[in-house]
Amino acid sequence: MTMTEARPTEGGTSSTPEAPPSPVGQAVVDSADHKVLGLILIGASLLLYLILRAAGSALGAELLSAGSQVVGGNSRRFYSLYETGIILLWVAPVWIGLATYLLPLQIGASRLAFPRVQALAVWTHLAGAGLFLAGHLIDPPPGIGLTGREPLQAPLGGINDGTNLILASFLLLGLATLLSAGNLLTTALIMRADGMSLGRMPLFSWGVVAAAAGSLLATPVFLACALVLYLDLHFGGTNLFADSRGADLVWQKGLWLYGRPEALLLLVPALGAACDIVATAVRKPLAAPPPPVPQGLKAKLPPLPGLVTPLAGHVLAAGALFAAVTFALLAWVQDRQTIDAVILPTATVPTALFAVAAGVLVLLWLATLREGSVRPTLALSFVAAAIVVGAAAALNALIAGLTGVEGTELGQGMVELITIGVPTLLAFGALHHWAKKLFGVGLSGPAGGLALLASLGGTLAIGIGQSIAGYGGAEVHAKEAQGDARVGFAIAEVGHVLLLLAGLVIALDVARAMAARRRNRAAPADITDGVTLEWAAPSPPPPENFTELPDVRSEAPLADLSGAESTTTTSAGKKG
């Protein structure tokens, strides 16, 4: 086992590291440690998930029977709270939190490039989340579009405190995303350990880099439009209401940004995490499958070792992640709702190409699992669940295309499957996968199994239920439903409740693990846990992250180490 710093004693470390400082109170508020900041964001996003999912459940209950008054006259408020919030306050922060915690560990750095900037980003994100919730809670209801993405008719709502707060929250959340994206990208470019070339970076880190690069291009547009809207509405204008020409373009291109590409961008680190989960399950990097060559031709061709090496799979996966970001940006540039305003390829093609990039990754995962000896884990089951949900969405899109159904609740069903369901499942899977590094202890297996079943069932129920409602003719954001549509909404409501249950189970388990993190001493690293550098750190990592850092000679440095160790052991045994 070769180390660049200290030679380890038996067990993988030279000494038992001290337990990390208590992540509570003053230590939490003052901390610029990327691990504490990551945990703050992960914990807060889980709490926000429960609030938002409860709002979604209440909204779904409204549609179960005619004349239902669960949310009464507040359906606009609940739609805006749930649909905008679930992306801004759950999917975005949980992945930023995981990236904040894991990126330095994966690249062998002791810290982020700018720890204080990340602290600013995290607290700004939380302040933005607070303003967003406050804006929806205070009376009168906010005079902003249903999900913050459509211009209103001028007489509706108008400017009030709620609208002001929501617009201010958009500015804060955008700023926080921008700060995080720049910091994470700089960290990946500059702070990598010796030997950790860009090509050797783990695929979750690649996903973070790709998404951060996309965010740096997309988020300023969102910020610009939010700024214009704030200036207009705050000073009493109506220039950006629906009856003002040009306003529609601003809304669709600017403020719809967080529906697309931001939602698609947030899928990219999730896909990267799934790559790492698969690689860990087989304890080797992703491998590209050999090309299908006919048997007769194969004998005549020279061997093609390059196509089956792990490096080829790793590079192909990283390329697919970057391609996904590119297509996400292209899909946003040409939104189908403004097809008459800008002459560009339609949104459908880049969205389909995004799906192709994701499909390439899925094929790589399957090929790698087929070739290797699989160590089944709960995290891997979450990846399988995400693949099922993605396949259901693809099938649904195919049916919708063949039947020509458009502009109904079906679209919301697709959003639930792809932009909320897949990243949520993979976030739960990532929490299980990296639990030892995040909390020092693993998450509960039975609780995780329950969460897996509930989240998979819930996601499918919402997606399929809303699609049934859409095929039944229910309009987007319907206030009442009849016939088939009502059956669809009933199925979707079951899904909301199941997802609420899954979130509750995960949140309680994470809370238990965080409490254990404070109590327990750090356990030494076990390099058989994984193949990437974060597994060389104690669990949980000390403030400086690593007590010793292995040499990085490939994209799976710990697999190299354990391979070398086993070779040494075997030869020593033979000698003996």
């Binding site: 490039a113 921008l178 910091n183 500059i190 610009a224 003002s244 020409r245």
Partner: protein
Amino acid sequence: MTVAAPLALPPAAQVLERTRSRNAVVVATALYGLAALVLTAALIGTYTAFRSGVSPWPPAGVRKENYFGTLLLAAAAMLMVTAEWIVWSVVHAVRRQTAQAAGLAAFLLLAMLNGLLFTVDEAGFGAATHPYGTIFYAFMLVAALTQLAGLAALVVALARTAGRQISPTEPQLARALSIVLHIAALTWVMVWGALYAGSR
């Protein structure tokens, strides 16, 4: 008799870490600067969207004062040259010229801010009067923020120079300062292009 131990040279790892931190500042400044330019470009896109839908454009009562806009453009061009002058003088260890260039940069930034305030003062319409007003004030706000960022970076760079953290062998922070100044200048160039050169 006690013999004082000789001062040890900083370990190579510390030097490497410091160089990394300095390089990180340059990279991050470039990335955030790029984001600022994208933001300005998005405002130009918004401006174009409004212009295509509102007639007449600019709305009645808006008097465009090209004189100050173009004067600020000249200041922006000078600021970009000055930014490069700062880096050149740091790399060549000409401290007197570094001080002169920094002083000139501060003067130009203050002049640009003053020009912006004057332009806003003379506008004669509010942010919500019409779409032109909304986008005009958004442009002014973003331009002012980039110029204030330039001034803040200048103050930080002076403090770092006093602390001997900028030197011919470690000019990264001077390069980061120059990027901030370039962004401030380029932002105004883009705003000028949209507000004064691009619409009649």
